[in-house]
Symmetry: C2
Subunit: 352 residues, 2 copies
């Protein structure tokens, strides 16, 4: 499994924790901080610790697992811990966890003392194929996802596939949604390969291919001026449904579950607006509907969902903007959608 | 008065508010937000408004004047206002105010939706010669100054010297400390020119010269890896005294008053450690002591001051780092100072 070269930093796939230990040993840093949550502290931190020779210079910052920890209040907590532990500009932050850890840790590091270095050790499938690649950092305010953030690249990413063995099936499915998206927006062959695979445990080869697709797009357009918007397929509606669920459901949707709903709705929009063939729409709908649990969306929630969509970062001048498809494997960015169109697409999902 | 070209952005000195109106009219932006405080809303906003033709697309975000507003809590307030007003990625934030407004506004803009454009309209002498130039943004946590921030350049700076007419003398003195510093670290002739000038109302030529010095240094070293540390002369001790005063005094020191104390102490350290001639030390001490009011520092506060100094961003591995002088007009960066040396320098000030 080749190391992927991103924008001035490597993404390791083999012996990754050994590579991390080597990186630490190179002597560029004065101090090390590992950002973790109670899950990765239990399942992943022991392996990391066992590989690092000099542990005296390491401090652990542990936050609660879950999307709630991406709120600005937790970010302030991380900053205060870095202050209290005496972190200086030559410190390194190691983000050991899922997307919450890498998004929050990346933002905290990129702004602490105007920026310290950080690396990602993604421990979930979702963060391996999505959050850890591409240099976006972000935190939430009032449950508005990633409303605050920076574009800052990590110094390296260490993908340890063994960590996936400890994940519950629902978390694998969450990451899988982004992998399916990579096929839908860019690579029809990959979509078909995924459909033919055992998706309860995606192979190293599939993870590598997803990272390669995302990496290629983000290198081409790091600041999301154009083609990077391709990655937003399913996310205009998906993020709104995710925010709704986060606020209203005790056992809320995972990111991937919400994005799967978003992809079904936006495939419908694509059929109506960008000529996605009916057969492709049917194939996408059937595949996602068979993999992901049904979710009840009441029509009474539509107006709130539209409000969330209007706050989406991709929009300009108050218009709601979607990335759609023209075929499986081919996307089309910057489609303004009306509330009536969005309503129809949600009804399409509801009436499946 | 020539426009100064900085790192891809212009710094205007003549007809600056007309230039701002032209900039707004060019049509690059969907919405405009003016960050202001109650003072600039009264004294500066009317001129800005009178020059702008289409005011429908403008919203005002007003915060309380004063260093306290640089706290993260106020930054969250600015972010929430931008969310509520529907700011999108094509919005422009216009920072109309002193250093608090430009530091806070710059940080809020550089992180909102992963970065929107901003410009500075500095309204105090301090912000004209210091905060608005060089691309540093910053906010405070627990009164630790600029502990969180980014390096992000504005799209333009509009220096309107007429705004200085409304400032009280104490605020002119605050900015003057940074101008005197520019002479001390880089340009002996400028230092002597300043000493010979009417310093109750610095001329446009002097302001221009200070901006040119700061701009030259920050272009050469935008991320403070080397020569930019020259600008920290007086700030290791000055920032600690400023933080102390901010926490303990009802009528706290201005930034410049604190930096003047810091420059006297650090000139003493320079005499002891980097061979600043006794005559130069005497000249610096006499000049600053005659311009700035005396401030009482108790020996019982020294340990707290050292704690603040240790949290300074310039430090590495727990050592306290100072920029010193070898002569008036020549500086020497990266001098590690012991607590005993710092104690002596504070006693030098106390015993003047």
């Amino acid at each position: 499994m080749n190391t992927i070269q991103s924008d001035n930093y490597p993404i390791y796939f083999e012996n990754s924790i050994d590579e991390l230990a080597n990186f630490v040993k190179q002597g560029h840093y004065s101090r090390f901080f590992i950002l973790t949550d109670e899950n990765t502290a239990e399942h992943c931190l022991p392996l990391v610790k066992s590989k690092i020779e000099d542990q005296d210079n390491f401090d652990i910052i542990e936050i609660n697992a879950g999307e709630e920890s991406k709120d600005i209040d937790f970010c302030i907590g991380v900053w205060k811990m870095l202050i209290d532990f005496g972190a200086d500009r030559k410190s390194l932050l190691i983000n050991l966890g899922g997307g919450v850890i890498s998004d929050l840790g990346g933002f905290a590091a990129s702004t602490f003392k105007r920026g310290i270095d950080f690396v990602h050790v993604p421990t979930t499938l979702l963060s391996q194929v999505d959050a850890s690649v591409g240099g976006k950092t972000g935190i939430d305010i009032d449950s508005i996802k990633n409303i605050i953030g920076t574009f800052t690249q990590p110094k390296a990413v260490f993908i340890e596939l063994g960590f996936l063995d400890t994940l519950p099936p629902r978390q694998i499915l969450s990451g899988l949604a982004e992998m399916l998206k990579h096929g839908l927006i860019q690579d029809a062959a990959y979509w078909h390969q995924l459909k033919a695979s055992d998706l309860t445990k995606p192979s190293a080869e599939l993870v590598h291919r997803s990272v390669a697709i995302k990496n290629k797009i983000t290198i081409e357009d790091p600041h999301e001026k154009g083609i990077r918007k391709a990655l937003n397929f399913g996310h205009t509606i998906g993020h709104a449904v995710e925010t709704w669920s986060l606020i209203n459901d005790k056992d809320h949707l995972s990111h991937g579950e919400a994005i799967a709903i978003g992809m079904i709705c936006e495939a419908y929009l694509a059929h109506k607006k960008t000529n996605l063939p009916a057969g492709d729409l049917q194939e996408i709908t059937a595949t996602l509907n068979s993999l992901y649990p049904r979710y009840t969306i009441e029509e009474s929630s539509f107006d709130t969902l539209f409000e969330y969509m209007k706050k989406d970062k991709k929009n300009q001048s108050g218009n709601i903007n979607c990335t759609l498809l023209t075929n499986i494997g081919v996307c089309n960015i910057d489609n303004i959608c009306t509330e009536a169109e969005l309503r129809d697409s949600l009804l399409y999902y509801i009436n499946l």
